[in-house]
């Protein structure tokens, strides 16, 4: 085998190890997150449209993004999620970030187009045992297949989406 082949295999090895660590960290960080989404749970977006996460996740994996206006880390992740929302189903939950008008204004001024549920009092987040922002859950066919908090890179989220599809 030539030198480049070896390098390629090495690189692949690194990626697998890094992926495994990330996956392990995900599991460790979020062992409280429920494993399934209750099928009766229907939420209402800022625009007023009813959303059933479970139902939506039957057709395609759903990215559920928990964020907050008071979270200085979130602006580093939100644009990535917004970019994903062009091609994937993305629902975001604004955790205890104030009234609807304020959250809408925040989304608009930061040019974020994803569908958002305003969880003003933190009740929805509590159902997911979720107090940490930014957090990205991936829901596939009623099941929470991945949960990750903190910085997440675009390839990181895409890898998790693919992984979620593989599991199915």
């Amino acid at each position: 085998m030539n030198k480049w082949g070896l390098r390629f295999i090495k690189l692949l090895g690194y990626l697998v190890v890094a992926g495994a660590i990330a996956f392990g960290v995900d599991l460790y960080r979020n062992n409280d997150v429920p494993t399934t989404v209750p099928s009766e749970l229907t939420l209402t977006s800022l625009a007023g449209e009813p959303l059933s996460l479970a139902k939506m996740s039957e057709a395609t994996p759903v990215v559920l993004y928990f964020w907050a206006t008071w979270c200085p880390v979130c602006p580093t992740v939100s644009p990535t999620v917004d970019w994903l929302s062009d091609d994937y189903t993305v629902i975001s939950v604004a955790l205890r970030s104030g009234h609807d008008k304020k959250v809408s204004a925040y989304l608009e001024s930061n040019q974020l187009d994803f569908t958002t549920i305003n969880d003003d009092r933190g009740q929805i987040s509590r159902r997911f045992n979720m107090g940490v922002t930014p957090t990205i859950l991936i829901i596939n066919n009623h099941k929470v297949t991945s949960a990750t908090s903190g910085f997440t890179s675009p390839p990181g989220i895409l890898a998790r989406l693919w992984f979620s599809k593989l599991q199915n």
């Binding site: 206006t69 979270c71 602006p75 580093t76 205890r96 922002t133």
Partner: protein, 658 residues
């Protein structure tokens, strides 16, 4: 008997009940919540304790709210920056408590990638003053303390705070009282050794600019802004370019204001500036003045590329006849006359070479300024003359040229260059090209009519426009050479070369030598920074010139005085010409000595961000610059670059409201 037993039980029960009441409900001494933790988030714990003191006058109970954060966890200041939320107490179902006044210790800045927040790490103690309602003796605190904490994730945690306080039952705890006094001493106060010398707001770019000066100079200060004004409650102040700039005693910081809905008017509003330059920390309340840059910026915004290009051409052309050209006059004249016996073809090439030298130098200067701008440096026209290394290099080159002209020695080019140059007459072309370069480099520190406008437009424009405008400036300045190159016969108008040229050479040499000496003298302010400050208050008559200060201008104008501002630099010959030709001549000299007139000078010889900001406020990027303020013109009247007695006298008259 039975009754007696029952009464006994009852008595026992009532004793138990009262014991329970006093121990659980109405605690005596100095009640504390003890350390509170949350099962959701074990990285933080909080404690609220009153000191046991009560001030019946103000009805306040001093208390300490201590927050402990593990590892890299942070919580936030009252104005947390872009994101983050300050810790807050919701009184919820408390009884007998009017409000809680917070005191905020000096924060530190933290960055999450490019997002700046102000907050605290490890441990922070907030001194609180709990205000008890009128005619209340037993206050019941049943509140929720909401604390946000972040690492690379953020958590909002609610802690129930419950304390029952009977103001008559309190006994001061000396340890808590001391801790409270200590915590209060950490709250930043206005300290006299530093002051806010300038604070303004520009509605055009929503920017607040502050200048703070400190007698012992700044080290690595962090600056924070907040406002207690209720209407500015949700305004976020974002530090521009993520840094404050320090120039010795002077600190400059700009903040961009934003609001999630609509930004309220900020002019004349009260804001507070907190500085943390460990161990120094202080806070100053200041009112925001209106930034004076508004009008000029509007003029610039409405300017088209064509207008700017035309201004660039004209400005470049005018540069040829500005006093600034004096040091290179010798070179220029020589380049014109020494070649008049060459063939038309040769002349065309030679003049084209000089023009190329001029143009390419402008483009290079433009590119360098553009790159500096991208790296966040405050750029300006002629700023290279604020650099001692640049001046030294120029002085040495001029000296070498002068000696060469005297014929004392011949400059020997490196051999490879010599060989390359010898081929096909490149020698003379290279010489002409470098003459163009040299003339441009030496003649460009001062601004000129139209040039200022073109440069201001260019420096605010994207890179390709910046280069285009500088290219235009180069064409403008090179126009005389270009026109001779286009019509070589015009050279006949120039004096014919002859034996007299032999005598002219040493004269040019002497001129160049003078230039070199002048350049060396420019280095003096760089040798000691202190001397440059004293020159700014240099004495031309009985009253000294004051150092440029926005604050003083505003104060003087409100007192009905007239302020004459002169921004100048030692290397700016046009400034010298203005001084000798107008400012120190009658009638201006006497007018400036009037008792109700304050003369203010900004010496830009060495880099000074405050003066750069002053110029920038009026859309200017170079010197000379003069402006007159007064009751009749609080925003000031801009004077022409080349001063005239009439213009100065007229402006003073208008400013005085005569």
């Amino acid at each position: 008997m039975k009754t007696a037993k029952f009464v006994g039980y009852l008595r026992w029960f009532s004793v138990c009940l009262s014991l329970l009441m006093s121990s659980l409900s109405w605690a005596q001494g100095s009640p504390s919540t003890g350390w509170l933790t949350s099962s959701d988030h074990d990285a933080v714990q909080v404690k609220l304790a009153v000191t046991g003191e009560f001030n019946p006058e103000t009805r306040t109970l001093p208390a300490l709210l201590t927050v402990q954060l593990k590892d890299e966890w942070k919580t936030y200041w009252r104005a947390p920056g872009e994101g983050g939320i300050p810790p807050r107490i919701d009184l919820a179902s408390s009884q007998g408590i009017e409000r809680i006044d917070w005191h905020w210790p000096t924060p530190s800045e933290y960055y999450v990638q490019s997002i700046r927040t102000a907050g605290y790490k490890h441990q922070v103690t907030f001194p609180l003053e709990i205000v008890v309602s009128e005619a209340t003796e037993r206050a019941q605190l049943d509140a929720v303390f909401t604390l946000s904490s972040c690492t690379n994730i953020c958590v909002l945690t609610d802690f129930p705070l419950q304390l029952n306080i009977d103001v008559n039952q309190l006994t001061p705890d000396s340890e808590q009282s001391f801790a409270f006094a200590q915590a209060m001493s950490q709250i930043p106060q206005p300290i006299g050794s530093a002051e806010v010398t300038h604070a303004d707001y520009n509605a055009d770019d929503q920017q607040l600019s502050f200048v703070l000066s400190r007698t012992s100079g700044w080290d690595s200060p962090q600056v924070f802004v907040h406002s207690d004004d209720k209407q500015l409650n949700e305004v976020v102040f974002k530090l521009v370019q993520q840094k404050v700039s320090v120039d010795g005693k002077r600190l400059t910081a700009s903040f961009k204001a934003s609001h999630w809905l609509e930004l309220p008017e900020l002019v004349n509003r009260q804001v507070s500036i907190t500085v943390n330059d460990d161990p120094f920390s202080a806070a100053y309340a200041t009112q925001l003045d209106r930034s004076t840059s508004t009008t000029t910026n509007e003029a610039l915004d409405s300017m088209t590329i064509w207008g700017a290009l035309f201004a660039a051409l004209l400005g470049g052309l005018i540069l040829n006849i500005m006093p600034c050209v004096l040091p290179v006059l010798g070179i220029k004249v020589q380049s014109l006359i020494a070649n008049s016996n060459a063939s038309a073809r040769q002349v065309r090439y030679q003049f084209l070479a000089t023009a190329m030298g001029v143009i390419s130098t402008f483009v290079v200067i433009g590119a360098l300024l553009g790159l500096l701008k991208l790296s966040g440096v405050r750029i300006s026209w002629g700023m290279q003359f604020q650099n001692p290394w640049f001046i030294t290099t120029l002085a040495v080159i001029t000296l070498a040229f002068a000696i060469n002209l005297f014929g004392l020695y011949q400059i020997r080019l490196p051999q490879w260059l010599n060989q390359w140059a010898l081929k096909s007459q490149r020698s003379s072309l290279l010489g002409h090209f470098s003459q163009g370069v040299f003339a441009t480099v030496l003649a460009t520190p001062c601004t000129a009519p139209f040039l200022g406008t073109a440069v201001a437009f260019a420096l605010g424009a994207p890179m390709y426009l910046l280069l285009l405008i500088f290219f235009g400036l180069g064409i403008g300045m090179a126009l005389p050479w270009l026109s001779i190159a286009a019509f070589p016969q015009t050279r006949k108008l120039l004096p014919k070369p002859g034996p007299w040229l032999k005598w002219v050479k040493p004269i040019f040499g002497a001129l160049l030598l003078a230039t070199s000496v002048w350049l060396f003298t420019l280095l003096t302010p760089h040798w000691s920074k202190a001397s440059s400050e004293s020159t700014s208050a240099e004495q031309t008559s009985e009253r000294p010139w004051q150092t440029l200060s926005f604050k003083t201008i505003h104060q003087a104008v409100t007192q009905g005085k007239v302020v004459f501002v002169d921004v100048t630099a030692d290397w700016c010959i046009t400034c010298k010409a203005n001084k000798l030709g107008v400012l120190e001549q009658e009638p201006v000299y006497s007018a400036l000595a009037a008792p109700d007139l304050i003369r203010m000078r900004g010496d830009w010889t060495v880099r000074n961000d405050y003066i750069t900001d002053y110029l920038r406020a009026y859309g200017q990027y170079g010197v000379p610059y003069n402006r007159v303020y007064g009751p009749g013109a609080p925003e000031g009247i801009e004077l022409p670059i080349i001063l005239t007695s009439d213009a100065v006298m007229q402006a003073i008259k208008e400013a005085r409201n005569e």
